[in-house]
């Protein structure tokens, strides 16, 4: 199976371990990720706040490129990117005037719905299937029997009417992934609460409080590690963990934060270096102790 791959700006350096582990895991599952040639930034939420039309134009350019390069599915690993791609496609399908306006900005026009943009979790659920992942898991992996929580963040499931992936209140696919590698998913009320990463460099106290509450809740339900699918969430939950915990409580604790691809990679018995486990801010060394390297 061959799909288009839209990495997004942060995957090349800020979240290189995510990029690397996704490639390794997908290779193992028999999915070929072909990087979209000549892609540009999707603009995230920031460009929309400055110039509405240009923001839609630059997203549509990526979709037009995917159409030109004959991809049926366009996979984004960053939820903000996948949200922008899905939302622009959705708007162009449902509003003909808008589609014409956006197409007038582009060199090669984009036919709405000719490409299906989606997040990588959706590809895993609908096109690969949990059964196929189960086949590749080797017994005796270091995560067996560990307690874990899945953290979705915002754009994996919200806004529900546009993304149409899972129940925005209680998504469960990542819990299935935890179960597949042999760990125990815990009930986690803060599963879809925002970590506030978009305001990271503007309002530090807000972000730290939101993130701290999530971490505190994760510890209270007994999580030994957190599973997520967003590099911005990782930047606040993982990179800012010490400050965030300090902001909300006096206690000291540490929870390793892993990408879902790293967890699947560990389950498949891939070696630690190729999954980039050394690049996580909170070292997962303690979690993986006792297992063979």
């Amino acid at each position: 199976m061959k799909v288009g791959y839209y990495p997004g700006c942060s995957l090349h350096k800020v979240a290189k371990e995510y990029d690397r582990s996704v490639h390794k895991v997908m290779e193992k599952l028999g999915v070929e990720l072909v990087e979209l040639k000549d892609w540009n930034c999707c603009g995230a939420l920031e460009v929309t706040a400055v110039d509405h039309l240009a923001a839609e134009g630059i997203v549509a350019r990526n979709l037009a490129l995917a159409e030109e390069q004959k991809f049926e599915q366009l996979i984004a690993v960053c939820p903000a990117c996948s949200y922008q791609l899905i939302a622009t496609n959705y708007k162009m399908v449902h509003d003909k005037n808008k589609a014409d306006e956006i197409n007038s900005l582009l060199e090669t026009p984009y036919t709405p719905n000719s490409v299906k943009p989606m997040h990588i979790l959706e590809l895993l659920r609908d096109y690969v299937g949990i059964e196929k992942i189960k086949e590749k898991i080797v017994p005796g992996n270091p995560l067996e029997g560990k307690k874990a929580v899945s953290y979705y963040g915002c754009f994996c499931t919200r806004p529900g009417d546009i993304i149409q992936f899972e129940d925005p209140d209680n998504p469960t696919f990542m819990d299935d992934l935890i179960e597949v590698v042999g760990a125990e998913p815990q009930f986690f009320p803060m599963k879809t609460k925002c970590c506030g990463a978009t305001q990271m460099l503007v309002a530090k106290p807000v972000v730290e409080t939101l993130t701290g509450n999530i971490l505190l809740n994760a510890r209270d339900v007994g999580a030994e590690f957190i599973l997520l699918a967003c590099q911005m969430c990782a930047l606040s939950l993982d990179g800012q963990q010490k400050q965030a915990i300090k902001r909300v409580t006096d206690e000291k604790f540490e929870i390793p934060v892993l990408y879902f691809s790293q967890v699947l990679g560990l389950g498949m018995g891939l070696d630690y270096k190729s999954l980039g486990l050394g690049s996580n801010y909170v070292s997962p060394k303690k979690l993986l102790k006792g297992a063979k390297t």
């Binding site: 706040a49 240009a54 925002c194 978009t198 530090k204 807000v206 509450n213």
Partner: protein, 214 residues
């Protein structure tokens, strides 16, 4: 006996009844008038939950009443983290996150309004957030992709005005050092290859969009 505080009374003689139409005409604000004030947005908002001064329902009510200056100059409209939880829960599909974006755009546009009565001043957090959004976009027009050290560096420099604006960078020193330690900072512009034409094409889209909106 309790006394009524004078400040709490809303003086509608200074209100601008056309303000709600201005928001409705802005892309993203179309659904504003559907709101029936059920407060689902406020109850589900993580920022309100964490105890910060932010109340989506109040902002919508203020817009509907035409309290133009109070809304556009408030810190509240810059507090939103854009998580779309309110949009998801709203029974009337008001899409509050998009309304916030529309309000921010109106607030920024009106800082240069020639009509002195309508001119607004951005609060401190607004200036910072707008500066961040602007540097982020400029980075895209320049490189086609964002280059973090470049736009964040410029944001730290210009965020509060030169020469001392750069000092806010020190608040994030632990984060920056952490990223340096893990080799997560990109020192070269993205897509630096001469055959990469995306920056030029993206700039073209930007210019065209600007000329259409004028």
């Amino acid at each position: 006996m309790s006394t009524i505080s004078i400040e709490k009374i809303i003086d509608l003689s200074t209100a601008d009844p056309n303000f709600k139409n201005e928001v409705v005409n802005e892309p993203g604000g179309e659904h504003l008038k559907k709101c029936f004030q059920c407060s689902s947005c406020t109850l589900t908002c993580p920022v309100t939950d964490a105890g910060f001064d932010f109340n989506p329902r109040k902002i919508i009510r203020q817009v509907l009443l035409g309290m133009r200056k109070e809304v556009l100059e408030s810190t509240a409209i810059w507090q939103c983290v854009g998580c779309y939880e309110c949009t998801d829960r709203c029974p009337q599909n008001v899409r509050f996150t998009e309304i916030i974006e529309a309000l921010r755009r109106i607030a920024v546009r009106n800082t240069k309004n020639k009509d002195k009565k309508k001119r607004t001043k951005l609060p401190k957090q607004g200036r910072l957030k707008h500066s961040f959004d602007k540097r982020f976009s400029e980075s895209i027009w320049l490189w086609g992709r964002t280059w973090e050290p470049e736009y964040i560096g410029r944001y730290f420099m210009y965020g509060r005005g030169l020469p001392f604006g750069a000092l806010i960078g020190f608040r994030y020193i632990s984060m920056i050092l952490g990223m340096l330690k893990k080799f997560k900072i990109e020192f070269f512009p993205p897509g630096f290859h001469p055959w990469n034409s995306n920056a030029r094409k993206v700039r073209k889209i930007y210019k065209k969009a600007k000329s259409i909106q004028k």
